[in-house]
């Protein structure tokens, strides 16, 4: 069954059409890769799904319900978490606090809880810390838990963003060029982690500029050029598609 279904999605910025009549879907448990040359509209697709921009037309359905008109935070609450292409960790919060932010939408304590600290609130705090520890260990960030996020090396910040997204208990994880700026070894390690995340039952949708990375990890691939879908299928199918070679590979090499 399709977890996410995008149909006839269009977004214009002024006179420029960033995404045009886009159709695709992601099946539960899959890894879908989206590739395309710079400016093809990949990040715009992410921003439309996560509710940062409203689309001009089209429909986005997640788990059976429409996401249109929802604000980003309620989309996250429904089970879609994301990372950003340019890293956006909370720079002056510690690594731990960054990941705790992800638990916000899964916990309930309010004003009275904060000030009176009843039993239920204390239990909630404990559960937050347990979850955070689990995600930090998984992302190999536990030793740096008390560092300020801005002081982490680049690759660690990328993993921190993923840990923070995982802390929201997503069903669908959206990764915007997770390997950008990483060296080859770091990139491989990251893809390994992404594979493990999928094994744990989370569906993944990722944008990558680097073809090699995407081909290795994705079950299916959608190719975007000038805001339009020009091909879709398994990595092998896409790789041999003449339109892809012309639009993407041919242009870049």
């Amino acid at each position: 069954m399709a977890l996410l279904e995008v149909s006839d999605l269009t977004k214009n910025f002024g006179g420029l059409t960033a995404v045009s009549h886009l159709d695709f879907h992601i099946d539960e448990g899959d890894i879908l890769g989206m590739i395309g040359p710079n400016g093809a509209g990949k990040t715009t697709v992410f921003n439309l799904i996560t509710g940062i921009y409203p689309p001009n037309s089209g429909e986005i359905r997640f788990n059976g319900g429409s996401l249109l008109g929802l604000k980003p935070h309620s989309i996250t609450e429904r089970g879609i978490a994301r990372t950003f292409q340019t890293i956006r960790v909370f720079p002056n919060l510690t690594v731990m606090e960054n990941v705790m932010a992800g638990r916000h939408c899964r916990t309930r304590a309010g004003l009275m809880g904060a000030i009176v600290r009843p039993q239920s609130q204390q239990q909630e705090e404990v559960s937050i810390l347990q979850e955070v520890e689990r995600h930090l260990r998984f992302m190999h960030l536990w030793p740096y838990r008390d560092e300020l996020a801005k002081n982490l090396p680049y690759g660690d910040q990328r993993r921190l963003e993923i840990a923070r997204a995982l802390a929201t208990d997503p069903r669908l994880l959206i990764l915007d060029e997770p390997a950008a700026g990483l060296n080859e070894q770091e990139g491989r390690q990251l893809m390994d982690l992404i594979g493990q995340i999928r094994t744990s039952g989370i569906t993944i949708f990722l944008i990558e500029h680097d073809m090699k990375v995407v081909m290795g990890v994705s079950d299916r691939i959608v190719v975007l050029d000038n805001g339009e879908k020009i091909a879709a299928g398994t990595p092998a199918e896409v790789q041999t598609n003449p339109r892809v070679i012309e639009a993407y590979l041919g242009r870049e090499e």
């Binding site: 990040t43 921003n47 940062i52 950003f84 292409q85 340019t86």
Partner: protein, 305 residues
């Protein structure tokens, strides 16, 4: 109709003062993203230096009040306040460029308190009046147009404001230095890479802004004839409002915002209630910002992801 025209003219006159002061806020904000809360007090200082210069030239040195003397007074005041502006930038702001958004605001408020109390110590807490001799420069001529009264003084004020603003606009749009200034307001680092001395541009902004505000100070002194040391607080707040209204950082925006605010105030006084005019001005500002969150001419900020 006559009353409407009258309030429009009054509003444009007050608005031109606001616009001149607003330019200082908007220019500093443009290059530094800093609200110079001391700017209103530089304006007030300008009004006092204008008074002192006038006393010196006309009363003490016995020059006859003429258009030439008026010009000289404006020139002297603008130069003096520009110097104060440079000192202010050096002492209170430059050390704080990397300190974040809030510390410069407190520093600016401290500088405002300092200037205000310095003026109070020097010239007293009571209001001071521009002497009668000054009136001779602009004779009291009043025309009646369509039921509204326009004085020569109002025409002169509007003319001075127009010349100063047009001059600034031409300078910023069509000269090399003006282009550099616009570049700095877009991006310090890239401007630096292009070979622009960013600190010199910042210093220049702290010359032009205060000079224009000081001219506004002399004009307020001339127009109302009476000045006091807390003058900068109210006018400063109004001018800052005008700058925001037009879209802070945008030079034509400050001019339009100033004139518009003056007109709103005058119309509120004439047609609604004098006691509520300041509140009405703020209500209009808030409504405009709800409609256009970055002011009338402010650029839409599109966040890059």
């Amino acid at each position: 109709m006559g009353q409407f025209l009258q309030q429009l003219i009054n509003g444009l006159t007050i608005g031109s003062f606001y616009a001149l002061i607003a330019l200082g806020y908007t220019m500093v904000y443009g290059v530094l993203k800093l609200i110079n809360f001391a700017h209103g007090d530089l304006f007030m200082l300008g009004a006092y230096v204008g008074l002192v210069t006038l006393m010196g030239l006309v009363v003490n040195m016995g020059m006859s009040a003429s258009l030439l003397v008026l010009l000289a007074i404006f020139l002297i005041v603008m130069v003096v306040i520009a110097l104060v502006g440079i000192v202010l930038e050096r002492v209170a702001y430059r050390p704080l460029y990397r300190a974040g958004r809030l510390p410069p605001v407190v520093s600016a408020l401290g500088a405002a308190i300092f200037i205000q109390n310095a003026v109070m110590l020097l010239y007293g807490a009571r209001y001071r009046t521009y002497p009668e001799e000054f009136k001779a420069i602009v004779p009291e001529v009043i025309w009646t147009v369509g039921g509204a009264r326009i004085s020569l003084m109002q025409v002169v004020m509007l003319a001075i404001a127009f010349v100063l603003m047009a001059g600034l606009y031409i300078f910023v749009q069509y000269t090399r230095v003006g282009t550099a200034m616009r570049a700095v307001s877009l991006d310090h680092d890239i401007a630096r890479l292009m070979g622009i001395d960013v600190y010199r541009i910042i210093a220049l902004v702290f010359i032009i802004g205060p000079a224009l505000g000081a001219a506004g100070g002399v004009m307020v002194g001339l127009f109302y004839g009476r000045i006091y040391f807390t003058l900068g607080w109210g006018y400063g707040l109004k001018a800052f409002t005008a700058a925001i209204l037009g879209g802070i950082g945008n030079i034509p925006g400050a001019m339009i915002g100033g004139l518009l605010l003056g007109v709103i105030e005058a119309l509120a006084t004439g047609f609604v209630s004098d006691a509520w005019k300041n509140a009405i001005a703020f209500v209009v500002l808030i409504l405009i910002l709800i409609w256009r969150p970055t002011g009338l001419l402010g650029e839409r900020v599109v966040e890059k992801l």
